[in-house]
């Protein structure tokens, strides 16, 4: 063979190699940051999305949303609903060591009892988690909890290696290269830039994941992500602003999927402070809003107008409820009757809600409120919320599972840890119903209880629900089978990259 034949042959080889490696890596750009790799210490979006790939749970969710066996092959629930017994399958961590009942007990005890656990609410009923033998783990509860199984599927219930944490300490084990049980492990992590994951060769689902490498790239600027997606520099754009959806869809090779989420955008009144401690004021504020027009203006018709204090993606969401209808004349009458015309209100917002705030202010002022908009950054927003130092604000929240228990605890129950999403909304009956519904194991009865909660909180306008927003995600055409579940989990292990 002469040299002039070797070179083209070598080049062809090199070319095919680069093409192959490019097809082996999926690049996902997101405004959400990965800041920490320990699955229990954070409940922020960017971390949740990464945890899901690193740590497998006892159960997993199928494409239909139904619970399936995960690391646990089978499970049993005792008659009284107080004891859960899981049989683990023969699975291995990314370092090749076996995943034992002891690891599961260790991980679940951490998330439910450790002080550092950022989001233990779903595991509050747990009394004890223990390893019965090598591959049997038992969870005992203080009281029955209907959503226990589905809570064991969420992001922070991932199984971590006890041996590794014992050896390197918590700091060391999760610093940059944790031993993982999920479909991926960390290849390289550059904080504030990207985290590169590579397939875990010991993952229990054989032959999966099909995509070898995953890059989770942080790009905070919406326009920058859009440009990268259209130029083919990334395969997935985690968040496409509503205004860009049409444009992305008009670009070859990439399209936007609007995927169901449990995100609920809402007006949060502070029930501890005048004037929103007054139901008449809340009613007038709700009736002043043309929520349909607002939804269309902000989301360009991409979201659904909310009808309840529950997201429509939650189980037991009651589609028959309706908040007070848009009626500015009646709203003004309400204010006039109580001599409240001219009531000054201060709406605290973060800069992302500028447009929404402008619309709310216009409609509130039209019925006789005098609205001032106060702009704060996200850090100050949360601290003001926690201290109850605001009158009214807007934001959204989402729920980790389709079961509404955690959502109610977060947003409507004031004794459950977050003072009803820091609105200080207090209703003894709602609190009682929350507990009852948690323990009730009969589906129909639970539906009734949650219906009642929605009815009460809507009547009292615990919050003014605005709209149900889907995830708006752009995928390159070569990405097949990838979605983001309502629980913020990428279905990467079942996804594929096809050659164009």
């Amino acid at each position: 063979m002469t040299t002039d034949k070797i070179i083209p042959a070598a080049m062809a080889l090199m070319l095919s190699a680069t093409v192959l490696s490019a097809q082996d890596t999926i690049r996902i750009a997101s405004p959400n940051k990965v800041t920490v790799l320990d699955p229990i210490v954070s409940a922020a979006g960017g971390n949740i999305e990464a945890y899901g790939q690193l740590y497998a749970r006892l159960l997993r969710k199928g494409p239909d949303g139904a619970l399936q066996p995960g690391l646990a092959e089978s499970w049993e629930v005792s008659e009284d609903g107080l004891t859960y017994t899981f049989e683990l399958r023969d699975a291995k961590f990314s370092d090749g060591s076996a995943i034992t009942a002891e690891d599961a007990a260790f991980s679940l005890t951490r998330v439910s009892k450790d002080e550092k656990s950022a989001y233990p609410a779903g595991f509050a009923p747990i009394k004890e988690v223990s390893a019965v033998d090598e591959d049997t783990v038992q969870i005992t509860l203080e009281h029955a909890s209907a959503p226990m199984l589905s809570n064991l599927e969420i992001f922070n219930a991932g199984i971590v290696s006890k041996a590794d944490v014992d050896e390197r300490g918590e700091e060391g084990a999760f610093a940059s290269d944790p031993v993982t049980s999920g479909p991926y492990m960390v290849k390289e992590w550059k904080p504030n830039d990207r985290i590169t994951l590579t397939a875990n060769p010991h993952y229990w689902r054989e032959g999966l994941p099909k995509i070898q490498n995953v890059e989770l790239i942080e790009v905070s600027d919406d326009n920058a992500r859009a440009t990268m997606a259209m130029a083919g520099e990334i395969d997935v754009n985690r968040y496409v602003p509503w205004a860009q959806v049409e444009e992305v869809n008009n670009t070859d090779g990439v399209s936007v999927a609007l995927e169901p989420s449990t995100m609920l955008y809402l007006v949060l009144p502070n029930h501890d402070k005048a004037p929103f401690d007054n139901l008449t004021v809340r009613k007038a504020a709700a009736m002043a809003l043309d929520r349909e027009a607002i939804t269309n203006a902000v989301t360009l018709g991409k979201a659904e107008v909310a009808n309840s204090t529950f997201s429509n993606a939650l189980n037991f969401h009651d589609a028959n409820l309706q908040p007070p209808a848009y009626d500015p004349a009646a709203a003004r009458k309400l204010l006039e009757d109580e001599g409240l015309v001219g009531t000054e209100i201060t709406m605290m917002i973060t800069p992302t809600f500028e447009q929404l705030a402008t619309l709310l202010k216009a409609q509130w002022d039209a019925v006789g409120f005098k609205t001032t908009v106060e702009r704060v950054d996200a850090g100050l927003w949360w601290s003001n919320m926690a201290k109850g130092e605001y009158q009214v604000t807007v934001n959204w929240y989402y729920n980790e599972t389709e079961d509404p228990d955690l959502a109610v605890r977060w947003a409507l129950c004031d004794t459950c840890g977050s003072q009803s999403y820091y609105t200080n909304y207090h209703n003894e009956e709602v609190n009682k119903l929350t507990d009852e519904a948690l323990r009730e194991r009969d589906e129909a009865k639970r539906a009734e209880l949650y219906s009642k909660i929605q009815q009460i909180t809507l009547d009292e306008l615990a919050q003014i629900p605005l709209y149900y927003a889907p995830f708006s995600i752009a995928y390159a055409d070569r990405v097949k089978g990838l979605t983001l579940t309502p629980a913020l989990q990428w279905t990467l292990e079942d996804a594929e990259l096809t050659a164009e």
């Binding site: 602003p241 860009q244 444009e247 269309n296 447009q355 908009v373 702009r375």
Partner: protein, 262 residues
């Protein structure tokens, strides 16, 4: 060129003065039925994401731009000239102290310094003015000092000294008027800069706050719509170019004329 500059600035002055007459809509009126409308007969420059009329907002924005540009240079001008003239005229330790102060501010890029001061003080146009007063005087001070250094040796100043006039009188009546021309030229470029930086702060959310019809704020509001509703950002941007060019041309023209005079 100078004439074009004067014309542009005059036109903007007129637009600002007659804004209520020229605007076709209330610049703050929200219209749910007209969200993101393209430029047309009803809305000449289109509408933004809450249905406000971009044309009317650009027209009203001229008021804010001129207000910021003209008011923002007053404090730096007064402070800078005072320090510069006194330093140059007296020399000695007064000069040394003043020039060290100048040296401290000069190494930092002007906008970075303004931005950090505003970041510390908090967003708002008042704080922008404070920041300008703190750092903007340096340019004027250097120019005024250079002029005063020459003028204090000039015959008419020496004559005035021998006739026993006080320093204050000489500074005000002789040194100040004769040092004005380079400062006026600089003033014109400074107005442009102050307007641009004011808009940049508005864009970054650290200047005039929404919903004000301020060009920087408007450009920021249109940012996510740049590919679908370009007009929201384009027209305030164009307005800013036209007002900036106006002042810059005046500055250039003045500089040329004064050089010829000398």
């Amino acid at each position: 060129m100078f004439v074009i500059g004067v014309a542009l600035v005059l036109i903007w002055g007129l637009i600002a003065a007659a804004a209520p007459l020229l605007a076709t809509h209330d610049p703050y009126a929200i219209d749910f039925a007209a969200i993101l409308k393209a430029p047309g007969a009803e809305h000449w420059f289109g509408t933004d994401n809450v249905g406000r009329d971009t044309y009317s907002r650009v027209v009203y924005g001229a008021r804010l731009a001129l207000y910021i540009g003209l008011l923002g240079v007053v404090a730096p001008l007064v402070i800078g000239m005072t320090i510069g003239l006194v330093a140059g005229y007296f020399g000695g330790w007064v000069d040394t102290v003043a020039m060290r102060l100048v040296d401290i501010t000069v190494p930092f890029p002007f906008f970075v310094l303004v931005l950090s001061i505003v970041a510390v003080l908090g967003p708002g146009i008042e704080n922008y003015f404070i920041a300008l007063a703190l750092v903007g005087w340096v340019g004027y001070a250097r120019l005024a000092r250079a002029e005063a250094l020459v003028l204090r040796q000039s015959e008419f100043v020496l004559a005035a000294r021998t006739m026993g006039f006080s320093h204050g009188y000489i500074l005000l009546r002789h040194v100040l008027p004769n040092s004005l021309s380079p400062i006026v030229v600089y003033l014109m470029t400074d107005v442009t800069l102050v307007i641009l930086f004011g808009a940049a702060l508005g864009f970054l959310g650290m200047g005039v706050s929404p919903p004000a019809a301020e060009w920087g704020v408007m450009i920021a509001e249109g940012q996510t719509y740049i590919s679908t509703a370009w007009w929201i950002s384009f027209f305030p941007g164009l307005a800013m170019v036209l007002i900036g060019v106006g002042f810059a041309l005046i500055g250039d023209g003045l500089a040329r004329m004064l050089r010829i005079e000398r």
